[in-house]
Symmetry: C2
Subunit: 398 residues, 2 copies
């Protein structure tokens, strides 16, 4: 299949290009390198030293001996999107080209506006190009959403839609979303726009409500450091397990926000690649809008910190776990029971050995101990959901 | 109360300024006059000859002998929004400053992107200004949504939220939205953003899911033609009853889209003013996000066309009703039972004499027969939901 990756320079985009190429697919991608800028704006950098796209492409060519067309440009520019699709004629588009951080979106009005307009406009441009570029009407859009779209309702979370009875009548309706940041809401807005385009124009899409991804590598990097993906640890672009592992290797306490009783769906990077590929290789029928909840298992964040602590200690690291004042406004105690059956039905085989994955990560990150140490300052958040900006303090664990 | 009307030059904004001033409130408003441009872009113009804002303000001063501060500027410019709120210090903001047309938003990718970014950014700017401008944290945002956010589900439509039982557990959740155009989705996105801001920051808002408004006047125009509001009849900015009345006075068939069995909530312009004022004068508690469904009654569009026909014939007009090919993709037969209790509880007294209102409209519009005749071409739509643009044809009534 011919697969176009929007956001191919990112944490998921780059390994996905390798993973799909390994399986014999023809890959192209687009990027504007904004992720590198955003992380720099946070005073941070990728812990894994990532090379330029030119060098990535050179290394790719050496290992994979097949073309990888790269389009440098802005997905908010319709002419750019149109030309890329017209030239490449993809069977599937994986849209990873969005601003993916909740704290970044909560910084101030400019960042909130940027997040929502950047994410909505890129998706609208892709939808219109699929409708209007000859040969692309049947292209399958694999759109990255997030489990965070649903929030933490007091009922089970289905995969996108649910049948309800209300005042004696029945209907199947989109499951209500209750996101927790401007970023998460941008994903909800996108989901609604994609659902509408499929219904209006007979486009087809898989909307992936993905959990939190963690990991430093997939096998398809072939041990070549030029093929590594980025790995962020700052408050905006570093997510829970990744940040815990970085903290563990520099003897920094693992930081839980608030009580640390929050539960979320998680999955290793290699599982994300497997799941996205299953979605791509098993497209829905034309005109169908389907939703997958994509994660391996629900974990409590405290439980995950203790797993990192256990594995870290096995590696001789002195790991402590501390609670921080919560910079976010979120429920810290909540019911959480999301369905995640559809990818299993397609053949998803979860790794399930989360501690082995953590061990690989810690060993990988030990090689970059100095880089992490030099970025120690970015590990404690200061972007607060109430609009103020000041470092949060440690609190008693609860 | 001090009330700031965003979009004060529009169909609802201008009469609301008069209505509120008559009741003793102090009004200010902002506009960039985009509505005048959009209608011109549709090849049309207001049937009522509206004067410049300078002349409107002069007439206002003559009749009302109180200040009306006008801010010309772009609500997408945060600095503009911030300065206006800082200066005026409103108790309430009525946000009518959005692009309000479904067909206009469906024209092409540029219009879809414009609609969603214009509407979202203006609302985000107002929310952040309410949070950050000293003295505005407690300001009440009256945000105009639309009944079209809900679509036409097969169950009753509550006012914003509903309690459900799902797999044996209960929760109160936002009612799922199923909008039918990029414009309507922009309103859903806005509603979600406003709900989130209230939850995060303790702002307060009333989100008005308004039905289709019709009418040429309210009493507070005092018979002065300079105080008239605009009246549009083109496919994008002219809505059902207004368009029917314009068609009736030039002997053009009243045009129903498709079978004409669609049902919608409608209300006269004077009821819209009454309802908005009730919402303003009865603000919710700080931190509350409440939703009102705002309409007088649900009518079938065929039924309304026949009412216009009846009243028109009483006035000596030869009125016919014809079905057109439907340019939209929408359900033409559907269940429709939306709640609308909350405004009644606050004291809303519906006009309920829709035929009297139609008579006033027809008499008013007969004075502009030549203007309507000169715009006859804009009465048949050509913007289709499938992305093509060509005039729809007449079909047999069904």
């Amino acid at each position: 299949m011919r697969i176009f990756i929007a956001g191919i320079d990112g944490y998921l985009g780059w390994p996905l290009a390798l993973y799909l190429s390994q399986r014999g697919h023809v890959v192209a991608g687009a990027d504007l390198f904004l992720r590198r800028q955003w992380v720099a704006e946070m005073g941070s950098a990728s812990i894994t030293p990532i090379v330029s796209m030119a060098d990535r492409l050179l290394a790719f060519a050496e290992h994979y001996r097949q073309p990888l067309a790269f389009y440098e440009g802005d997905l908010r520019d319709y002419a750019f999107v149109e030309q890329a699709l017209r030239e490449f004629q993809p069977d599937a588009i994986v849209h990873l080209g969005e601003m993916p951080s909740a704290p970044y979106s909560m910084l101030d009005v400019q960042h909130a506006v940027f997040t929502q307009t950047n994410n909505l406009v890129s998706t609208l441009n892709l939808l219109f190009a699929m409708r209007d570029v000859p040969g692309c009407r049947d292209t399958h859009l694999v759109k990255l959403g997030t489990m965070g779209e649903y929030g933490t309702p007091n009922v089970d979370i289905p995969e996108g839609f649910f049948e309800i009875e209300y005042r004696g009548r029945k209907d199947t309706l989109p499951f209500p979303r209750q996101a927790g940041s401007w970023y998460h809401w941008s994903k909800v807005h996108d989901s609604n726009n994609v659902m509408f385009a499929c219904r209006m124009w007979g486009l087809r899409s898989t909307d992936i409500m993905q959990g939190v991804v963690f990991g430093t590598r997939i096998d398809e990097m072939n041990g070549d450091p030029r093929l590594l993906t980025r790995f962020d640890i700052d408050q905006s672009f570093g997510t829970a397990i990744n940040r815990f592992c970085a903290q563990a290797v520099i003897d920094h306490p693992l930081t839980l926000y608030g009580k640390g009783h929050q539960q979320r769906g998680f999955l290793p990077l290699r599982d994300s690649m497997q799941c996205l590929t299953l979605a791509i290789e098993n497209p829905p029928p034309t005109g169908d809008y389907r939703v997958f909840n994509q994660f391996e298992e629900v974990y409590g964040v405290t439980e995950l910190a203790h797993k990192v602590q256990k594995v870290g200690r096995e590696l001789g690291l002195a790991v402590t776990v501390h609670n921080l004042e919560n910079p976010r406004i979120e429920k810290e105690e909540h019911y959480y029971q999301p369905d995640h059956q559809r990818l299993l039905d397609l053949g998803y085989q979860p790794t399930h050995d989360i501690e082995s994955e953590m061990r690989i990560m810690l060993v990988d990150l030990l090689a970059y101990r100095d880089r992490i140490e030099s970025l120690r300052d970015v590990l404690i958040p200061d972007i607060r959901w109430d609009g103020t900006r000041r470092k949060v303090g440690f609190i008693e664990s609860q």
